[in-house]
């Protein structure tokens, strides 16, 4: 027990929580935008992989770090275009298309990696985003290390979450996107295009998922590994449900989740870790996600038209 308290009061623990939460926040915001517009995007896992790969490869080839982020976003949007073309105007099964996109994006990353780096045995490294050194703030005791020594991409992740909330709830565009996921016929009656809104939401959302993936290679680690996303995409789908499709709650969910994840990593080093098999700790994030889904099952307010294709003229 004293181990846990020691961990919880260390600044490095909270720094890790924010670091672990950042890619989850980006990808969760991406999924949330898609689902608010009425489209479940199960391409998320693969889109995070392609984002991690393309962002890293761009920087490895000499582009600046923000260039890598832009490349990752563009790659994600491309797969978002593929997903939304098949699921929105053609109304194909969002489950099947999503899993197909995940498989295509993942294998595209593996194929390209092997093609571009056929000989390497240990993955090459890049210089990732450095922690930002903020005047005064970074030198504060505790908070300086816990909060004010994060990379620019972490700040971007939180800014994106704020922006998503602002656009969804405070702009006509956000209202239209939400309406496309609740009552598409009413949107059409307003003279707006449900197809356009939904495709746009999926494309932008997929771009954010890819940046979430790129966070892993450009900020958290400095290399690309095949298994690095490791179910984070599916966890983000669970976080959207846990956050009741609301950006603020989803961010809190991601931070809570990251806290448990950072805790299990540190608990492995304690007496408890010596006592229990390490697989139990590694399984904790997945178990936790399932528990979160169960916990929210009764009160989740699912967008009414989620997974319901819209075909003009059909009522």
């Amino acid at each position: 027990m004293s181990d846990i308290i020691d961990i919880l009061i260390s600044a490095s623990f909270w720094a890790a929580v924010i670091r672990i939460a950042s890619p989850l926040i980006l990808a969760t915001m991406g999924e949330l935008i898609c689902e608010r517009a009425g489209v479940l995007n199960l391409g998320i896992e693969g889109i995070m992989v392609i984002g991690a790969f393309t962002g890293w490869m761009a920087v490895y080839q000499g582009m600046p770090l923000w260039g890598g982020v832009a490349v990752a976003m563009a790659a994600g949007m491309l797969f978002g275009l593929l997903h939304s073309t098949l699921t929105v105007p053609f109304g194909l099964s969002q489950h099947v298309v999503g899993l197909g996109v995940t498989l295509l994006a993942t294998s595209t990353a593996s194929f390209s990696y092997r093609l571009m780096l056929p000989e390497v045995t240990s993955p090459p490294k890049i210089n990732p985003f450095p922690p930002l050194d903020l005047p005064i703030l970074s030198d504060l005791p505790f908070l300086g290390e816990a909060i004010f020594s994060q990379t620019a991409l972490t700040w971007a992740a939180f800014a994106v979450a704020g922006l998503v909330a602002l656009v969804l709830y405070r702009t006509p565009l956000g209202l239209a996107v939400r309406a496309a996921g609740e009552n598409p016929a009413a949107v059409e009656a307003q003279g707006l295009s449900v197809t356009g809104l939904r495709m746009g939401a999926v494309i932008v959302g997929s771009g954010l998922m890819a940046v979430g993936g790129a966070f892993l290679t450009l900020s958290a680690f400095s290399s690309f590994f095949f298994e690095m996303v490791n179910g984070r995409g599916w966890i983000c789908v669970a976080l959207v449900v846990f956050g009741a499709w609301k950006p603020g709650k989803a961010v809190l969910g991601a931070i809570l989740f990251a806290a448990f994840d950072a805790l299990q990593i540190r608990l492995q080093q304690t007496d408890l870790g010596a006592l229990l098999p390490y697989q139990l700790f590694l399984a904790a994030p997945y178990v936790l996600s399932i528990l979160a889904l169960i916990l929210m099952s009764r009160r989740a307010e699912v967008p009414a038209a989620l997974m319901v294709p819209y075909n003009k003229g059909e009522r």
Binding site: L82, L92, L103, I235
Partner: protein, 347 residues
């Protein structure tokens, strides 16, 4: 644009669009070979000969198809009821665990094979039962829960192989002890490396076809999949049908793991399945969820995997081309099948 159903689609339409999907997949294959700096025709030829070019290649393809038939059936049965079981990978490993638990001396011959097969089905079914009860009782989406269970199950297997199920003679490799000879599936023909798991897969596919077309459960599964509200209104016990579907689906996936351990590998390790559970989704979709189509689709998918491995060794095009082609084929095919039923109109 808008989609308009076609009341009576022509034969040209029904065959033309799927053919177009195959052609488009071939075009992507050509493009990928060119990108990799290889001769496209030689690459496609090497995939074909790698899968079918010799007796050894054909046997390898049949062996690879065996678990895919089981997982393909598992997915097809579930998807027919719109039960999104993406957890065949976890159910497969549950079956594999039972093959080891009962096949390493706990049971003697001749009962060990049938009993371990039933236990594998039961274990696979139980793994899916959890997510399905969460769905029917609490409305928890089964897609995410079944997906997450795949990761949990792999960690559980990793724990077993490093702890209670560790092979003492394993030289530190995380693998289980070998099955006793009585617990191994015999070969179909002496001297040929093809085990009875393949034969059983064909029999099971036929059995699933009978269940789907000739029994009340098959009718109920289809009704629930087409329109759960209407099925409920007609007095059908929708939740009970979903649970039965899940038990069948999970059981089939459990057999995949059992057959891999008892037929092919002889023990359990973490690389038992290179994603057979996920590939089962492609198999089922390419088969249009038809049990007999699953056999053909599994042979096709297995051929692409085996052929790509061989081609990759010879031509240096990364073996991941197989997954890219299968994903492409899947997406083109679902679009093509839709286009056989609807036409795109302006407005």
């Amino acid at each position: 644009m808008r989609l308009e159903p076609i009341a009576d689609p022509s034969m040209a339409r029904k065959l033309g669009f799927p053919a177009l999907a195959i052609a488009a997949t071939m075009a992507v294959a050509t493009l990928l070979a060119l990108v990799a700096g290889a001769d496209p025709f030689a690459t496609l030829g090497q995939i074909a000969t790698g899968a079918l070019g010799s007796k050894l290649a054909i046997l390898e393809t049949l062996n690879r198809a065996t678990p895919l038939i089981f997982t393909g059936l598992a997915v097809a049965v579930a998807f027919r009821a719109k039960l999104w079981n993406i957890g065949a990978e976890a159910q497969l490993y549950a079956g594999a665990i039972m093959a080891v638990v009962l096949g390493t001396g706990a049971l003697g011959s001749p009962l060990v094979l049938p009993i371990s097969a039933l236990a594998a089905m039961l274990a696979g079914a139980l793994v899916l039962l959890g997510p399905v009860l969460l769905k029917t009782r609490l409305g928890v989406d089964e897609v995410v829960t079944t997906l997450l269970l795949n990761f949990i199950m792999l960690l559980f297997v990793s724990y077993l192989l490093e702890g209670p199920m560790k092979d003492p003679m394993g030289m530190g490799w995380p693998k289980s002890p070998a099955l006793i000879p009585e617990a191994r599936l015999p070969r179909i023909v002496d001297g040929l490396r093809l085990h009875w798991g393949f034969g059983l897969a064909l029999i099971v596919a036929a059995a699933v076809w009978v269940i789907q077309t000739r029994t009340t459960l098959g009718f109920e599964i289809r009704a629930v999949g087409q329109n759960p509200e209407a099925a409920r209104f007609a007095g059908m016990p929708v939740n009970a049908v979903l649970v039965k579907t899940a038990l069948l689906s999970g059981g089939l996936a459990g057999l995949a793991g059992w057959s891999e351990v008892a037929g092919l590998k002889g023990n359990l390790s973490l690389d038992l399945s290179p994603g057979f559970g996920y590939s089962g989704i492609i198999v089922a979709m390419l088969a249009l969820l038809h049990p007999l189509g699953v056999v053909l689709a599994a042979l096709f998918v297995a051929g692409i995997f085996v052929g790509s491995d061989a081609m990759s060794r010879a031509a240096g095009v990364p073996t991941y081309i197989a997954d890219m082609l299968l994903a492409t084929a899947l997406l083109f095919m679902v679009l093509a099948i839709l286009m056989t039923r609807v036409r795109v109109v302006r407005g």
